[in-house]
């Protein structure tokens, strides 16, 4: 490559070109799904990095049994804000907002989503909500200290800034609902000719299932948060037993949303993995229909298991039985996916590039997270490990090892398409290896600690837990180092690397059939789709 070519900005063509507006306003008021996707990418990923710093601070405090780094109040605020940021500002809006927006309309052969302005409004609601949450940290009586779950009675009584934080999360809920509505309409109405439901890429299928959960479950979160506000500001007594209220009802309401929300987090990740595995195994996906169907099955069955968070809360034994049983049902569609991915790999011609390495780690880490979930879903064993570090280990395996690693896989797989340039392969693999090792050292230690009885949300602990806690903290540093290498390499590549070409991986879905970077309305003329998404004999044609 000549040095003149190298010096050019990465963003010379396609949708990066001038759109009439100039500067920042051509981004924050753009209705182009790709620009909105990048807005979401920068904002959600930025919050991920903030959350990582908070997580590292938590681990730093836990390095020794009686750390003098911070007091209990600071520690409570730290894990609360870490949880709120990671859940509501990164992992729920991240994948649909960033990669759903960037890729989905192209995958179905559309020019944009069904409601482009609503799409921009969703991002704005997200930013406003995030602003409110940030404000809650620095005003009033200090940052919220309830944990991300806002459980009553504490959340109704604490003098910290819970009301403002809850209002911020409430606003973000609306952003999520509108994205869901937009995606459902888009996938129903804007598919190109020949893009039948049976030819929909599995990433789009997973977004479709996710969108229904966003639309139907998120209003319950809104109501629940509004009730906390009513409790705090008006003293309604809804959850106060001395006034005829029921504190357990709060937990029902909260988890009616928040369990389905874990599928909002993980389903798009599963979609990414389903799209990446066949490309890097050079083989059509095994069991296309079952993977698509199991997304819907997970969405439906997963909506009826929320009680498994409440086995120790004083809920009735009948309810414990029902919810424990239903939790085991959800394992079936999840396992269907894992078996289908593994069958796709079988006898494939596997090429271990960065997106594939992250996707393969997803399968392993998600499986560990899912199986430990069954230990928590079985009522008897849950009694022992409830509210211990075992739970913290479990959900980081699902949310970080699963959804988070899938997000990073998506970054390595799709971002070169949109920036037009690619990263170097070797440092990407070094970054991946460090992250993978650090991740397991960190969270596996925490699971073992939990089995030994180490409680979660404690800033000091008994000396017998000291050795493993030290190991976990060292793991968090290895993880962070890997993350830094991965990021520096990725962004340096995206802005200054080799041109990516139109189809660097040999994918057969529509996004690889158009020029890199894609043009403003994606297709010069509406494509007529003639083959399935994993038909690698026809790559490059629509």
């Amino acid at each position: 490559m000549s040095s003149a070519e190298q010096a050019q900005p990465c963003t010379e063509g396609g949708f990066w070109r001038d759109t009439g507006r100039t500067g920042i306003t051509s981004w924050i008021f753009s209705t182009d799904h790709k620009r909105i996707g990048l807005l979401y990418f920068y904002s959600t990923f930025g919050f991920f990095l903030v959350g990582v710093m908070l997580g590292l601070l938590i681990r730093l405090d836990l390095m020794t049994p009686a750390s003098t780094l911070m007091g209990p109040q600071t520690y409570n605020a730290l894990f609360t804000v870490h949880g709120v940021v990671m859940i509501f500002l990164f992992i729920i809006p991240g994948m649909p907002g960033a990669f759903g927006n960037l890729v989905m309309p192209i995958q179905i052969g559309a020019r944009d989503v069904a409601f482009p302005r609503l799409n921009l409004f969703s991002w704005w609601l997200y930013i406003i909500g995030a602003g409110i949450i940030l404000t809650s940290l620095f005003t009033g009586n200090g940052p919220p200290d309830t944990g991300w779950t806002f459980y009553v009675p504490f959340s109704a009584r604490t003098s910290t800034n819970v009301s403002l934080a809850v209002l911020g999360v409430f606003t973000i809920g609306f952003s999520s609902i509108l994205t869901g509505l937009n995606f459902i309409t888009t996938i129903h109405r804007l598919r190109a000719e020949g893009m039948t439901w049976g030819r929909l890429p599995l990433f789009t299928w997973s977004l479709y299932a996710t969108a229904w959960i966003q639309l139907l479950a998120t209003p319950v979160l809104g109501i629940t948060l509004a009730l906390i506000l009513a409790e705090r500001l008006l003293g309604t007594g809804l959850f106060d037993p001395t006034r005829g209220g029921d504190p357990i009802m709060y937990q029902h309401l909260f988890w009616i949303y928040s369990h389905p929300a874990v599928y909002i987090m993980i389903l798009p990740g599963m979609g990414v993995v389903s799209d990446i595995i066949p490309v890097f195994a050079r083989k059509p996906i095994f069991g296309y229909k079952m993977i698509a169907f199991s997304s819907l099955a997970i969405a439906a069955a997963g909506s009826l298991v929320w009680g498994h968070h409440m086995f120790t809360s004083g809920m009735s034994d009948t309810a414990i039985l029902v919810f424990s049983f239903l939790t085991f049902i959800v394992a079936i569609p999840s396992a269907i996916k894992v078996f289908n991915w593994v069958s796709t790999l079988y006898k494939g011609s596997i090429s271990l590039e960065a997106p594939m390495l992250f996707a393969l780690s997803f399968i392993l880490l998600f499986s560990i997270g899912g199986l430990t979930g069954l230990i928590l879903g079985a009522a008897a064993t849950d009694i022992h490990v409830h509210d211990t570090d075992f739970v913290v280990g479990h959900f980081h395996y699902v949310m970080f090892g699963g959804a988070g690693f899938a997000f990073i896989a998506a970054m390595h797989y799709w971002l070169p398409k949109f920036y037009g340039r690619r990263y170097a392969e070797k440092p990407a693999i070094v970054g991946w290896a460090l992250m993978f090792v650090g991740f397991n050292v960190l969270y596996f230690s925490m699971m073992v600690l939990g089995l030994k009885g180490m409680p979660r949300r404690y800033y000091h602990y008994l000396p017998e837990f000291a050795p493993l806690n030290l190991v976990a903290t060292i793991g968090s540093w290895i993880l962070a180092l890997g993350l830094i290498i991965m990021l520096v390499n990725l962004f340096r590549g995206l802005f200054r690397g080799e041109p990516a070409g139109d189809n660097p991986w040999g994918g057969a879905t529509l996004e690889w059939s158009i020029p890199t970077p894609p043009a403003t309305e994606n297709f010069e003329q509406e494509p007529v789709v003639t083959h399935g998404p994993y038909d690698f004999t026809r790559t490059g044609e629509p």
Binding site: M249, D317, V322, F323
Partner: protein, 95 residues
């Protein structure tokens, strides 16, 4: 779409009648709350609430005059809500 173009404006008389019915039902809710009738209390209140929201949806929100698609959408959403609430009764009824 099946949405017919005629704007179905309701008469003041009809609207007032619905409003008065709602007020009466509210009074009934208060009455039920003051009389201890055991678990019938919950079912009674829920029944009244359903009736009231039914009236609001049918007349104030014009659903009585809308096409089938919209009604099905609303029905589906309500059915899902009913399932959510119904499942909490595995807890509330057997505690």
């Amino acid at each position: 779409m099946t949405h017919e173009q005629t704007p179905h404006i309701l008469s003041y008389g009809k609207l007032t009648l619905v409003w008065l019915t709602l007020l009466a039902l509210t009074a009934l809710t208060v009455w039920v709350a003051h009389h201890n009738v055991g678990i019938g209390h919950v079912w009674g209140s829920l029944a009244i609430a359903c009736l009231k929201s039914g009236l609001v949806i049918a007349f104030f929100m014009h659903m009585k005059y809308e096409g089938r698609l919209l009604r099905w959408l609303l029905f589906t959403a309500l059915a899902i809500l009913a399932i959510f609430i119904g499942f909490t009764f595995f807890d509330v009824l057997y505690r």
